[in-house]
C-alpha cells in the first residue's frame, strides 16, 4: 500500500458542486500530475464540511490548513506555494469579521459544535468503505452481533434517550420495541430519506458524506427488531445521494457487512435503495410506505401504526436518516455517553441547516439545549449587511416562527414545544428586519397549498383558504375577521387533518399570529406594509 505524506480533501458534496467544485477538483488532479507530486499527495473527495457559504472548501493535511471559496484559477498558486514550498496561501483562508483562521475547527463556527452524526462527513472519502472502517464504521454492528441480544440493543437505544430526528421526535427505543414485539415473521426496516422540508439538506449531506453510517444503523435496527430486509427511500431529486448510497451498499455487500451471515454471526440483512419521484407528502411515514409499494403517496389512517401494519401490511420500523446515524455511536460508546451530550430532557445533538439572512449559511451539528442566540450569533456569525435579527423559523416551513424575545431559549424538543414551535427536521431559517411576515406567510402557504396531497378535506381546503386569507391581508383589504378566520381554520386543521402535513401547517401560521401580531394588524383595513414588501409583491401577482 502506498503511503502519501499529505492528503488533500476537497468537498464533493452537492452544495459545493454548483460552485464549480468539479472544475476545481479536476484542475487540482491535473496540476498534481503535471508537477509530479502524485507520490506525495493524495486527493480525496469528501462530503460536506458544513460551511457551505464558503465553499468549495479544500483541506490540506497533515497541516490541517483550510482554504475557502477555492476556484480553478487558484489551483496553480496553491500547488506552487503550498504543496511545493510549504507556505500558506493566506488570501484563501477563512475570514469572519476580524477573525482569520488557518484551521476551520478552531473558528467559532466549529468550536460550539458537537459532531456525532457528522463525525465523518468532510473527513472521509464516502466512496471508499475502508475510510469508514478506519473511523470505527461497523464497529457498533460488530459489537451488537458479537455480544448483545436484540433486547439489550433496544434497551441501550431506549436508555440513550434518542428521539426521532425526522420531525415528530418520538422516542426511538420505544418505536423499536413496538416493532420487535409486533407479531409476524417478516418485518422490515425503512430509512426515510425523502427529505423535502424547505430549508433542509442535512439528510442529503449525511448520505453523501457518510453513507456507511446509515447502512450500519439500519443493520443494527434490523437485528434489534427482527428484520432481514431494509429499504431506503431517497428523494428523487437527490441524484448524488442515490448514486453514493447504491455504491456504499454494493461495497458493504462485497465486504460481507450486508447479506448472508454477517461477520459469521448468522444474522442476514439486505438493503434495497428506492428513489422518490417528487412529492413532499412522502416524507410522512405512511405516505412513504404507499409510495414504496408503488402507489400514490397518500398517507394512511393511524392507527394501525407501521410498527404493526407497515410495508405490505408487515411490522415495519421507519426511522429518519439522522436518527439512524446516531445508532452506531450509541452502541459503541453506550447510552450514558449519549446522555452526557445535550440537555437532560433531550439528550444528544441536532444537525441543522442554516439558511436565510445569516453570515455562515451551511450545515452544523450542536448539542441539544444550546440557545438560539449561540446558533445565530456565534456559529452563524450574526446577521449580515448591517441588518437586525427579526425572526428565526425552526423546523422548516412547517415549524414555528420565533422572535427576538426567544433568542435565549434553549433549542431542544421540549423547549421549542413550549413556545408553539418544533425542532422538526432541523431547518433553521433566519430572517432580518427588511422582510415582512405577512409576505413570508404567503410563501409558506403557497407551498402547502401546492404540496397538500388532497386526500383529506381539512388539509386540501384549509391550505387554499389560508392562502387566500393571507393574500387578502397582504393586499391591504383584510379585516380583523380574516385574522380570526385564520386562527379558527388553523385550529380545525390541527385537530382534523389526516396526517402530519395538515396538522403542522398551522404551526407557522399560529406562531406568526402570536409573535408578529402587530405586523398583521398594520396590514388590515387598507393599512400599509411597513417594509413595503407586500405592496410590491401583490402588484406583481395581480
Amino acid at each position: 500500500m502506498s503511503m502519501h505524506r499529505s492528503h488533500i480533501l476537497i468537498c464533493s458534496g452537492s452544495n459545493c458542486s454548483h460552485r464549480q467544485s468539479r472544475a476545481v477538483r479536476s484542475r487540482l488532479r491535473q496540476a498534481i500530475t503535471e508537477t509530479g507530486l502524485e507520490r506525495e499527495f493524495k486527493v480525496i473527495e469528501t462530503g460536506c464540511f458544513g460551511l457551505c457559504q464558503q465553499g468549495p472548501i479544500m483541506v490540506i493535511y497533515p497541516e490541517g490548513v483550510h482554504y475557502c471559496r477555492v476556484q480553478a484559477d487558484d489551483i496553480d498558486e496553491i500547488v506552487q506555494t503550498h504543496l511545493q514550498k510549504g507556505r500558506v496561501v493566506t488570501r484563501l483562508l477563512f475570514k469572519s469579521g476580524t477573525e482569520q483562521s488557518v484551521e476551520l475547527p478552531k473558528t467559532a463556527f466549529y468550536q460550539k459544535q458537537k459532531r456525532v452524526v457528522l463525525r465523518n462527513v468532510g473527513l472521509i472519502d464516502p466512496e471508499n468503505i475502508e475510510e469508514s472502517l478506519a473511523r470505527d464504521g461497523y464497529q457498533g454492528l460488530a459489537k451488537v452481533l458479537d455480544t448483545l441480544s436484540p433486547e439489550a440493543v433496544i434497551a441501550e437505544v431506549t436508555n440513550s434517550g434518542l428521539q426521532g430526528r425526522g420531525g415528530a421526535g418520538f422516542p426511538a427505543g420505544r418505536k423499536w420495541e413496538f416493532t420487535r414485539k409486533a407479531p409476524g415473521d417478516q418485518k422490515y426496516v425503512v430509512c426515510n430519506a425523502d427529505e423535502g422540508e424547505p430549508g433542509t439538506s442535512k439528510d442529503r449531506l449525511i448520505l453523501e458524506g457518510d453513507p456507511h453510517t446509515i447502512i450500519e444503523g439500519m443493520a443494527i435496527a434490523g437485528y434489534a427488531v427482527g428484520a432481514t430486509k431494509g429499504f431506503i427511500y431517497i428523494r428523487g431529486e437527490y441524484q448524488l445521494s442515490l448514486q453514493r448510497f447504491r455504491q456504499a451498499v454494493a461495497q458493504a455487500k462485497e465486504y460481507g457487512l450486508l447479506g448472508q451471515d454477517i461477520l459469521g454471526s448468522g444474522f442476514h440483512f439486505d438493503i434495497e435503495v428506492r428513489s422518490g419521484a417528487g412529492a413532499y407528502v412522502c416524507g410522512e411515514e405512511t405516505a412513504l410506505l404507499n409510495s414504496l409499494e408503488g402507489k400514490r403517496g397518500e398517507p394512511r389512517y393511524k392507527p394501525p401504526f407501521p410498527a404493526n401494519f407497515g410495508l405490505w401490511g408487515k411490522p415495519t420500523l421507519i426511522n429518519n436518516v439522522e436518527t439512524l446515524a446516531n445508532i452506531g455511536p450509541i452502541l459503541i460508546h453506550g447510552a450514558d455517553w449519549y446522555r452526557s451530550i445535550g440537555s437532560p430532557e433531550c439528550p444528544g445533538t441536532k444537525v441543522f441547516t442554516l439558511s436565510g439572512n445569516i453570515a455562515n449559511r451551511g450545515l452544523i451539528e450542536v448539542p441539544m439545549g444550546i440557545t438560539l442566540r449561540e446558533i445565530v450569533e456565534d456559529i452563524g456569525g450574526g446577521i449580515p449587511n448591517g441588518r437586525h435579527f427579526k425572526m428565526a423559523q425552526t423546523g422548516g416551513t412547517s415549524g414555528g416562527c420565533l422572535a427576538v424575545q426567544h433568542l435565549d431559549l434553549p433549542v431542544d424538543i421540549p423547549h421549542l414545544a413550549e413556545v408553539g414551535s418544533s425542532l422538526g427536521s432541523g431547518a433553521l431559517l433566519v430572517v432580518d428586519d427588511s422582510h415582512c411576515m405577512v409576505d413570508l406567510a404567503r410563501v409558506f402557504l403557497k407551498f402547502f397549498a401546492h404540496e397538500s396531497c388532497g386526500q383529506c378535506t381539512p388539509c386540501r381546503e384549509g391550505t387554499t383558504l389560508l392562502k387566500r386569507l393571507v393574500d387578502k391581508i397582504a393586499s391591504g383589504s383584510g379585516t380583523a375577521a380574516d385574522i380570526k378566520a385564520m386562527r379558527r381554520l388553523s385550529t380545525t386543521m390541527q385537530m382534523t387533518s389526516l396526517c402530519g402535513l395538515g396538522q403542522t401547517v398551522p404551526t407557522p401560521v399560529l406562531t406568526m399570529l402570536a409573535y408578529f401580531n402587530d405586523e398583521f394588524m398594520e396590514h388590515l383595513d387598507g393599512g400599509a406594509c411597513a417594509t413595503g414588501v407586500c405592496r410590491a409583491a401583490v402588484k406583481g401577482v395581480v
Binding site: 505524506r5 475502508e130 461477520l263
Partner: protein
Amino acid sequence: MGQSMKSMQELEAIRERARKAMQVRQNQEGGPVISVAMGTCGIAKGARDVMMALVDEAAKRGLDSVVVTQSGCAGYCEHEPMIKVQLPHQDAVYYGSLDERKARDVVARHLVQGEIANDYVLQLPGGEPLA
C-alpha cells in the same frame, strides 16, 4: 481490495490497515512533528527526496503518530536541506545538510531511540546549535 469478511477478527485487521492509511488526517496535536524546509533553495538541494525518505522510514518503522510536514525557507540556505524535529514537551532540534540516508538515520536515532543525532545538528556560525 474487497474481501468478504466472516469474522470479527477480519474486521479488526481491515480496520487497522485502513487506519494507517488515514493517519495523516487524524488530529496529531501533541505528537512528534518533522517539518522540512521547502523553499526554492531547499527543493533545489534535494529537500523533496529528504521528505519522501522521512515519510517512508517513519511508515516502515510503524511511527504512525509522526507528522511530516513542510515549512518555508528558514534563511539558512547554505545548510539545506534542513529539517526541524519537534517532540512533545521538548525543545525543537534542527538538522542541516541532509540527504536521504541521513534523513533515515535521524528517524532511527531521534524518533525511535530518542537520542539527538548530534553529527547532523545544524551549527550556527558561532558553533552554537540552532534552537
